[in-house]
């Protein structure tokens, strides 16, 4: 019940905050108009509720965020060099990465983060098995693929540690204790009923 209230409140407060950010002022007027608009927006543009896990680790979130910024800088410089530098030989790969999470939110943010880090764009997502299909730039041989997959799983790991549900956390530990990063069996065995996370 508590998780449900928080799940509704966080997007609402996010809207109010966005309104105040856009105005660039933190005044009572901005707050009141923001709350009114947030009410209007959530009533008119209704979306299915996002289930937050109810777990948040600020330190892990900071680690995730700093790593994301670093990755963005690294990826941008890499691709910029690839574009303007000499001797570019095109060679790409499309890889499938089975994630361990069952939460839509963690899956979405992993997909977002992975698109910003070096060399990958999300082509498609299989929501049932939580599999990301990524297009990777500048992959010259199949032997580079496992390293790419490990990087994606590491991003997911940082996200789960920061804000994943207890259910996801247990799944992560299980996958790591088991066959390591290539445990596609653990990702495929989840049932649809457990996918929203166990925080209700």
């Amino acid at each position: 019940m508590k998780a449900r209230i928080v799940s509704g409140l966080v997007p609402f407060l996010g809207l109010v905050l966005l309104w105040m950010l856009l105005w660039g002022q933190f005044t009572w007027l901005a707050l009141v108009t923001g709350v009114l608009l947030a009410l209007l927006v959530s009533a008119v543009f209704y979306l299915p509720a996002v289930r937050l896990s109810g777990r948040f680790n600020p330190w892990r979130a900071l680690v995730f965020f700093l790593r994301l910024v670093w990755d963005i800088v690294r990826a941008s410089l890499q691709i910029a060099w690839l574009a303007v530098g000499p001797g570019y030989r095109p060679s790409n790969a499309i890889i499938a990465v089975p994630l361990r999470t069952r939460s839509d939110l963690v899956m979405t943010f992993t997909a977002e983060a992975v698109s910003l880090v070096p060399g990958s764009i999300v082509l498609d997502i299989d929501r049932e098995s939580a599999t990301l299909y990524l297009h990777a730039l500048n992959v010259h041989s199949v032997s580079e693929v496992p390293a790419l997959k490990r990087e994606v799983l590491a991003t997911e790991r940082r996200l789960i540690l920061a804000a994943g549900s207890a259910d996801d956390l247990a799944r992560l530990r299980e996958a790591e204790a088991g066959s390591g990063p290539s445990s596609s069996t653990g990702a495929a065995s989840g049932t649809p009923s457990t996918r929203e996370g166990g925080a209700s």
Binding site: L18, G24, Q25, I72, V73, S76, A80, I121, L123, D124
Partner: protein, 130 residues
């Protein structure tokens, strides 16, 4: 500021150019380089999927640099909050738009299959079968 001022680096003195101007110049230059590289990438990369990489990644660093530059030149609460909002939403929406374009390109087969070293994407949707 006249062009001659560009060469008078009185960093701790009042006249001439301060540290803030140097930071500004570096950020603008970085942003310009990144946007230039994104443009070159768009032309030079061989297919839609590769070009999407050029369209998302150097461009986001360029945007961050130019927005940081505006915030440094004009450090008021309003500018900084707006800058944060711009970067946050660009970072959220750029991957989403790249994903939509990439998915469309894959499903309609508008990409160079011969450039792939591996393709682990088995289409489940019958419409995407060739």
């Amino acid at each position: 500021m006249t062009p001659a001022d560009l060469f008078s680096f009185d960093i701790d003195g009042v006249p001439g150019i301060g540290i803030r101007d140097i930071v500004t110049a570096v950020l603008v230059l970085l942003a310009a380089l990144m946007c230039f590289a994104a443009g070159v990438g768009l032309l030079r990369f061989p297919d839609v999927l590769s070009r999407l990489h050029a369209a998302t990644k150097p461009q986001i660093l360029g945007l961050i640099a130019i927005v940081a530059d505006v915030a440094v030149t004009n450090p008021s609460l309003g500018t900084i909050t707006l800058a944060v909002a711009i970067v946050f939403f660009q970072a959220l929406t750029a991957p989403a738009s790249a994903h939509m374009a990439g998915r469309a390109a894959y499903r309609t087969d508008h990409f160079r299959r011969d450039l792939l070293v591996i393709d682990e994407f088995t289409p489940r949707d019958p419409r995407s079968d060739m």
